[in-house]
């Protein structure tokens, strides 16, 4: 409340502040905020570019056809990473082959069969959230004691892939469930009104419309799986020979990088080369998955 009898100076000072509140800062507030936000964004991209630049400059000279195909020699200081790439792809393949059906099935159960508020569904969902936050080393120990020892699979690509599948599942299930739930209920009512069965509605309408969600989960999951080191040291092992089958032990790229940079003196050059290959594999798998999903959706003309 401004007192009517206050001095003219007081009024002037109010007018002054309202015309030029806080001087420079207020006049340029928007511009400064814009610059600050741009700088934050630029530093994030800069960090990424720096890492990429570092890996590219250090790794590119190492990556030759021989490096990609030959077996490692002298603890990885010489030779190539052929068997390691194969092991990586095998482990990832096992993880995806197991986690996608189980994950999509669980997501269907959560989103379609059970009520969103039911005790069972919220229990499953809570468990998944906890699982998603469990450190990978714990998954490694679990995989080692359950798959390697209890089920007798030993140090093998199968054990590693199954352990990774357990790690990827929570991400995949939650993303797929969100995808299924985001399908408009008009489609379900429309389908029911046409006398379509529940399974026809699910497979012909709901799941195709949920594919973008599934792809997001898959891309995140593949990223997590390829980056995994701790869980795989305990399960798929260290052996850098070419795997004959999924029952053989195999060393994946991330384990190889870890080994070269930590345990092998003079292995840095090949560690960088392997890191570059890992980044390229991750990038190309994600591109391919996204592209296939996109093409498939285009064929079904689902444009959401």
């Amino acid at each position: 409340m401004v007192n009517a009898t206050s001095s003219t100076d007081f009024h002037d000072s109010i007018n002054q502040t309202s015309r030029f509140p806080n001087g420079f800062w207020a006049a340029n507030k928007n511009a400064l905020m814009t610059i600050a936000i741009w700088m934050i964004a630029a530093s994030v991209s800069g960090l990424f570019l720096w890492i990429l630049f570092d890996i590219l400059t250090q790794g590119l000279p190492t990556v030759t056809w021989d490096f990609l195909t030959k077996a490692p020699r002298n603890a990885g200081r010489e030779g190539g990473i052929g068997p390691i790439i194969i092991s990586t792809i095998f482990v990832l393949g096992v993880a995806i082959a197991v986690s996608v059906p189980v994950g999509v099935g669980t997501a269907i159960l959560l989103a379609e069969v059970t009520q969103a508020e039911s005790v069972f569904a919220s229990f499953v969902r809570r468990s998944l959230d906890v699982l998603a936050g469990v450190p990978s080393i714990v998954f490694g120990l679990f995989g080692n004691s359950f798959f390697c020892l209890y089920l007798g699979l030993g140090f093998s690509i199968l054990s590693g892939g199954l352990t990774l599948a357990c790690m990827v599942l929570p991400i995949l299930i939650r993303a797929t469930e969100e995808g299924i739930r985001s399908v408009p209920k008009e489609y379900r009512f429309g389908a029911a009104a046409l006398g379509l069965s529940r399974s026809a509605t699910l497979f012909r309408l709901v799941l195709p419309a949920a594919v973008p969600g599934i792809v997001v989960g898959l891309v995140l999951g593949i990223g997590r799986a390829l980056a995994e080191t701790a869980a795989l040291i305990f399960t798929s092992g260290y052996v850098d020979r070419m795997p004959g089958s999924v029952f053989d032990s195999g060393r994946v790229l991330s384990v190889h990088i870890f080994d070269l940079s930590m345990n092998v003196a003079g292995g840095d050059r090949h560690a960088y080369g392997s890191a570059l290959v890992l980044v390229m594999i991750l990038f190309s798998i994600n591109t391919i998955v996204t592209w296939i999903a996109h093409r498939w959706l285009q064929n079904r003309i689902i444009t959401t």
Binding site: Q115, P184, E186, Y187, R188, F189, G190, A191, A192, A193, L194, G195, L196, S197, A200, R204, L205, P208, A209, R300, I301, I302, T303, T304
Partner: protein
């Protein structure tokens, strides 16, 4: 088209069957006052809240029955209980008797077959995110029309029936979502009649459309008279007056929707008996 042309007295219709399959032109010229759907003491509740109570109504074969009344008086619930779409709503309970011909709607185990006989069109056009062709083809496949040629013939004939064929015949494989609102609604109608239903339930089919598209759909409904039994919820009283052979007026009393008056369209709109109906159709209530 004038509804009076179609509203001929009983016994003067060319066909007394009431339902014909084939191009629209072959339908009988008027509806037959022969009951197809009988509703006795219907009540619908969501959880503990009763939204509709004490509804007894007969719907005649081949006629257009308009349900009118203010929003929230249970017209949509009434419609959904006729094809058991209320099953999809958690906590929804339906009591009373509903029969479709000799079929007990509430007791039937084969809901899919019931819904095939009773098609439904929604307020908001809801074509599936598929191509125009697949929108019609997919339900046909699911209902066991195995022969591809047969499906294509049905697709063409129903698109002709809704007047969409000439507009879309060159882009049947384009996304159904690329159509305009009015075209989408007509596609939904085509999709429903492709299954050869006896009854079409329409829940405010024109309220999301512009006046021109709305006029097209209205004309379509008029042309369906005699061929399908039509139950249409509408808030557009002029439209109801134009198309309805019969009209039922719903009103909410103490939170529960009730049927106030039911009779031929002329009687409800020109000479209503109940004070509430008089006020509503003259625009003084609701």
């Amino acid at each position: 088209m004038n509804s009076q042309d179609h509203h001929c007295p009983p016994g003067k219709c060319k066909s007394t069957d009431g339902v014909t399959i084939g191009p629209v032109e072959q339908g009988p010229p008027c509806c037959v006052p022969h009951p197809l759907i009988r509703v006795q003491n219907l009540a619908v509740s969501y959880g503990k809240k009763r939204v509709l109570g004490d509804i007894s109504l007969t719907i005649n074969r081949g006629c257009v029955t308009a349900l009118i009344g203010p929003s929230g008086c249970g017209k949509t619930s009434f419609l959904s209980s006729l094809n058991r779409l209320t099953d999809l709503i958690p906590g929804c309970r339906v009591e009373g008797e509903i029969s479709l011909g000799s079929l007990d709607v509430r007791a039937t185990k084969d809901v899919m077959a019931l819904r095939r006989r009773v098609g439904m069109i929604f307020q908001k056009p809801n074509p599936f995110p598929l191509s125009i062709r697949k929108n019609i083809e997919m339900p046909l496949k699911e209902h066991g029309v195995r022969n591809r040629h047969e499906r294509l013939e049905i697709i063409e004939s129903v698109l002709q029936d809704v007047g969409l064929w000439d507009e879309v015949k060159d882009r049947l494989d384009a996304s159904a979502l690329s159509l305009s609102g009015g075209q989408q609604q007509r596609l939904c109608i085509a999709r429903a009649i492709a299954l050869r239903p006896e009854v079409l339930l329409l829940d405010e089919p024109c309220s999301a459309l512009d006046p021109i598209a709305s006029g097209v759909v209205e004309e379509l409904l008029t042309s369906f008279r005699g061929r399908y039994t039509i139950v249409v919820v509408t808030h557009n009283l002029q439209q109801a007056r134009r198309i309805a052979d019969y009209a039922a007026f719903f009103w909410t009393a103490e939170g529960t929707g009730r049927l106030i008056e039911h009779g031929s369209g002329e009687r409800i709109f020109e000479a209503p008996q109940q004070p509430l109906t008089i006020a509503y159709v003259n625009g003084k209530a609701g």
